[in-house]
Symmetry: C2
Subunit: 143 residues, 2 copies
DNA sequence: CTACGGGTTGGAGTTAACTTCAAGGTCAAG
DNA sequence: CTTGACCTTGAAGTTAACTCCAACCCGTAG
């Protein structure tokens, strides 16, 4: 199980949680009761992760997975909503660009050429853009 | 207060929450104690929203705002983290594109030309990509 | 005047998405 | 046979980010 977890960059707990809420189908088991995943499982989890970054909630992602895999259509309205959401993507990406520009400007203006340490630290901890669980590289030791 | 809230698309509660946790400075008050915001407030909230879509936590956004407005540098490491995060942006946007392609493919394959209603609804509710608070257009009445 | 739609507060409640826990079973290495 | 790293379960706990509540004040319209 931790094999799949590390493949897709989550914890085993998260995988079991996804299974509980129905995002992952119950996998086959070994004689001892251990979960045995196929390759599709990794795909599925990666789809979930992508959809999360896209701003969808797990419940909504579950519906998408149903559509994707069974051709099950919740209703005509759903199609419209999906289309709207897809249409919003370019606006979304433009916003990302704007934020990146903001941040790059900050880097230029306020942190010119400071590549190492030795700065006055007025602020405690910062660790950018990683959900608290994400494992490797605990950059948190600002002090 | 609700004027600013509707300008930036949040609730007054959220604005007061941001103020409580230090993301928004305490604004001037009218004689009666009402909050009086300047235009910079809207800018600030919009920056917060963008940064949230970017995947940052409010605590981290607070640090960014400090850097942005006071040139205060938490430490050298922060610069590196910011740069890393900025560098991740293109990967992020590529992932978004991939997801959009997934969704568009689903639309093509499973929902061909169904523009209206009258479909069999096998699934309960879906409302794509909007945080529960976001107000206008309650498409939730799938049934 | 009262009604009504705003505003104010502190604190409590909610939601999504994990995360941890206790208590145990499995299994290859030493 | 024991140690240690894995796996199992249901249930309870945690965290971030709101969201709601009671109880009150302000200002205008009728």
């Amino acid at each position: 199980m931790s094999k799949l977890a590390s493949q897709v960059g989550t914890s085993t707990d998260t995988l079991r949680y996804y299974e509980r809420i129905g995002l992952l189908p119950e996998p086959d088991r070994s004689p001892a009761g251990y979960r045995l995943y196929g390759d599709d499982a990794a795909d599925r989890v990666r789809f979930i992760k992508r959809a999360q970054r896209f701003g969808l909630r797990l419940e909504e992602i579950g519906e998408l997975l149903q559509i994707r895999e069974q051709g099950l259509c919740p209703c005509g309205r759903t199609k419209r909503l999906l289309e709207e959401r897809v249409a919003e993507l370019s606006e979304e990406m433009a916003a990302l660009q704007r934020l990146r520009d903001d941040i790059e400007q900050m880097l230029d203006e306020h942190l010119p050429g400071a590549d190492g340490d030795g700065w006055q630290c007025g602020s405690s901890l910062i660790q950018i853009g990683r959900r608290p669980n994400t494992e490797r590289g605990n950059h948190r030791e600002c002090f």
